[in-house]
């Protein structure tokens, strides 16, 4: 699964730490999501969607390999 968190974060000009604080998670979690190492829960994805003002589908999208799992 790929995501546009880094791009959306750059658009709002906020750091990983600021985003983490606003979402009540650790900076490690934001880093791991951006790096594709961790898939957030639906709750966190919806919070991100609300914060960035875009739909969840615009933030996260499936890749070819995800259909093989």
């Amino acid at each position: 699964m790929k995501n546009n968190i880094r791009i959306e974060r750059a658009r709002l000009r906020i750091s990983q730490q600021e985003l983490a604080d606003r979402l009540s998670v650790t900076r490690q979690t934001i880093y791991a999501i951006e790096a594709g190492m961790f898939n957030p829960s639906t709750l966190l994805a919806l919070k991100m969607s609300e914060l960035f003002g875009v739909s969840v589908n615009e933030l996260f999208s499936l890749e070819e390999d995800d259909y093989k799992k």
């Binding site: 009540s24 880093y31 961790f38």
Partner: protein
């Protein structure tokens, strides 16, 4: 994120206590085995019982202490570590038991006489818990290292 873990401040002192008591239990078991082998059966002293209880208690406090910040990724890492510990721990115990069964009778009796055998296969919980804790800490450390490398 709400959690039902102990405060983070307990983790380091509990871990130090665990390491010290673990070493003491091991030394005590070796000394006790040697005296049992040469002078017959010996019973556990109050000190030995105290150190064993301290070892288990400090280990439990260590693993049930929260990290500085707990969130859903930490929970996920804990679950992955628990799954890994179960797989490795169960495999390790199974292999050790198979080796024990395959040992000649004399060697098995010698093993039974060796009081350190509790570190051989008699103490599954402690292996599982240690593997879980190490796996979890390595995951956290690895993530932080990757973050620092990228900065």
């Amino acid at each position: 994120m709400e959690h039902k873990l102990l405060p983070h401040k307990f983790q380091t002192p509990a871990f130090i206590t665990f390491v010290v008591s673990f070493i003491l239990v091991l030394i005590s078991a070796i000394i006790d085995t040697q005296s049992a082998l040469f002078q017959g059966e010996t019973t556990r002293t109050i000190f030995q019982v105290f150190v064993i209880v301290l070892m288990y208690a400090s280990l439990l406090v260590t693993i049930f202490s929260a990290e500085k910040l707990e969130d859903e990724m930490m929970t996920s890492m804990r679950l992955n570590s628990a799954a890994l510990a179960f797989t490795i721990g169960f495999g390790l115990i199974a292999v050790l038991n198979i080796i024990q069964v395959l040992l000649p009778d004399a060697a098995y009796e010698a093993l039974k006489a060796w009081r350190v055998r509790s570190f051989w296969n008699g103490n599954a919980i402690i292996y599982l818990v240690i593997i879980y804790f190490l796996a979890f800490k390595i995951k956290v450390w690895n993530l932080e290292k990757r973050m620092k490398d990228e900065e």
